[in-house]
Structures are given as structure tokens and as C-alpha cells.
Amino acid sequence: MKKTGELKEYEKNSRVHTSEQIKKISKSIENFGFNVPILIDSEGTVISGHGRLYAAKHIGLKEVPTIKIEHMSKEKIKAFVIADNKLHDESFFDELTLQDEINEIVKLSLDPEITGFAEDEIKKILDMDEKLKEKIVEIKPMTTTYILIELPNSSDVKMLEDLEKTVKNAGGVLSYGGN
């Protein structure tokens, strides 16, 4: 354990934490406890866990669990600070499994928002049920013939009306277009 006041932020941390996210992390720590220690170097600088540190301060924790990393050089730490954040972005949620799990959490009378998803996101996840009716379409083999007739723009209106009538009488559709 280390006192939060003794921990130093990594000077060039490129990851930005929004106040909304800090609130979510705070809620998570209050619900689940501080389960993921903050990684620090030998001088007490945070390598991984800035969001958790901000959240700990936000809810007034005086001490947080830490793990001191001593096997990496300063150069490697520079790259690891980015990698640790970037590699999380590469995964994704299997939405249907997620839906099953959120459903179970709701059934267990737990607040689904402690998972970190906001109310509107949970609504969307739970709303992924079947919406469409299944129907059968019988397909008749080739009942339509397409004919393209090219006419000059100056074609007589009466002639076009007659053509439309003829096509309609044959059960067809006359579509107009131009180029």
C-alpha cells in the first residue's frame, strides 16, 4: 500500500481520463473494492493506473495498493505506458454473450451500471432481441423480361401514353430514365 499523496503522475501520460470515466471508476472501486493495484516505478511514478489513482483521490482514499516494477528500464517503461492502454483497445465485446451476462446481473438484483455501461447503453444491449418476422417467399423461375427502349427526348407525348398503356395491359411497368 502507498499513500495517494506520495504517488507521482507520469509526466508525459498521453492517456486522457474524462471526469465521467473517473466517476465510473470510483463507483466500481466502491462496489468491488480496489482490486487492480497501481503499477509504479522505483521512484513512485505511476506507470499504469492513473484513472484508478484519480478515482481513489475522488472518493477520498488515503492509501492504494501498488506494485513496484523494477525489471524494466526507463526506456521500456516509456513504451509500456502507451502499450498498456493501447492493447486494451484491441479487444471487443461479443454483444450476445454480453447481453446474456447483463440479463443475469439484472436477475440477480444487481445494478447493471456497476459494469461501467451507462443506462442508455444497457437499454441498447438488452434491446437486442428478435424484431423481425420470418416469412417464406416462393420464387417463380424467370417471370420477368426487361426491355430497354431508347427514344429521343422529342418523342410525342401521345405515343408515350400509348406505350405506357400497352405495357400496363401486358401486366408490366414502364420506367423512365435519362442519361
Binding site: F93, M128, L132, K135, K140, T144
Partner: protein, 181 residues
């Protein structure tokens, strides 16, 4: 939704269509021609309790599981389709060329197709050719645009599909049909 990368608003319908129409066997061999991450077939396996053995084709470089790597229109012509029970074309575009290959093969089983019908401005050449549409149709897409779905159904009839089961919403079409050898 945070952390998700696909627009799967109708995923549950895609899963239900598949779960309700796969062959009645304990073990189902699926050729997934538009590979992706396999979310749908994992859900089908969970829902049906069947053993789904999925072989994916994909040409993206970020796929990290064993798959057939390459252009699906070419790969599908070079493998024995008889060994599969299901061919999945979760395509979004109109996979006319693959459907035609499947219809001309000795594959026997169920074909699932997902497509968003945006094509009929640009009718796939293969459909245009099969339905003997004149080349000049390309110049005037509005002539056929509003009849696009019927043109596609006509073409399905031309390649030997007799009936489809479909779920649809606006221009999104999720359907399947049974192909006999």
C-alpha cells in the same frame, strides 16, 4: 455502444434465422465466407446446443484465428463444398458471384445470406448478364432501381433457388434457402 465495432442492431434476428434453420444434426460444419469474428455462430451454438465447426474465409490481415486466407469468390471455387452443411454469406453487399458458384456446385445444405440492398443503381454484372439486361441499363440505373429486390428474386430463380425464408427491414434482408445437390 462503447467498445463495440459492429452495427449489429439485428444480430438477434440473424442468430434466430440461423438457429431455426440449420440442418437437424448434432454437428454442423459451417463455411463462413465473410469470416469476421464469429460472434453469430458462437451465439447459434449456445442457443441450439449444437457443435458448430466453423471454417472462415477472410482476407483481412488482422484475423488471429486459423482461417482460409484470400478472396472468398476465388477460395470458394477451389474447395470441396460437399464437406459443409451450411454456407454463410454475411455479406452486406450482394454476394451474387458466390451464390452462383454455390448453386453450380454439388453442395447440399443451407445457405444464409445477409445483404443490404443498395445495389440497384449498379446491378452486379453477373445478374445483369444472366437476366440478359442490355448494357445500356448501366447508363440509366433509375430504370431498375425501384424494382431491385424483384430483379434479385428473379435472378435467384434463374440460378435455381425455389423458396427463401426471410426476415427483412427496409433494405436489410436476412434470408436462407436450402440447396439440394
Amino acid at each position: 455502444m462503447a467498445g463495440t465495432k459492429t452495427d449489429n442492431h439485428y444480430t438477434a434476428d440473424k442468430v434466430a434465422l440461423r438457429a431455426g434453420n440449420i440442418p437437424d444434426k448434432k454437428e454442423i460444419r459451417v463455411l463462413d465466407c465473410f469470416g469476421g469474428r464469429g460472434v453469430i455462430w458462437r451465439a447459434v451454438a449456445r442457443k441450439t446446443g449444437k457443435n458448430i465447426i466453423r471454417t472462415a474465409i477472410d482476407m483481412r490481415s488482422d484475423i488471429d484465428y486459423v482461417h482460409l486466407h484470400g478472396d472468398n469468390t476465388k477460395v470458394i471455387k477451389s474447395i470441396d463444398l460437399k464437406q459443409f452443411d451450411v454456407i454463410d454469406l454475411d455479406a452486406y453487399g450482394v454476394p451474387a458471384d458466390i451464390i452462383k458458384t454455390v448453386q453450380g456446385s454439388d453442395f447440399s445444405g443451407v445457405v444464409f445470406v445477409t445483404m443490404i440492398q443498395t445495389m440497384f443503381g449498379a446491378i452486379p454484372r453477373i445478374i445483369q448478364k444472366d437476366l440478359k439486361m442490355p448494357d445500356s441499363v448501366k447508363k440509366i440505373p433509375s430504370l431498375v432501381a425501384k424494382d431491385g429486390w424483384n430483379i434479385f428474386l428473379n435472378w435467384l430463380g434463374y440460378v435455381g433457388v425455389k423458396r427463401i425464408k426471410i426476415r427483412e427491414k427496409n433494405r436489410k434482408r436476412y434470408f436462407c434457402y436450402t440447396k439440394e445437390a
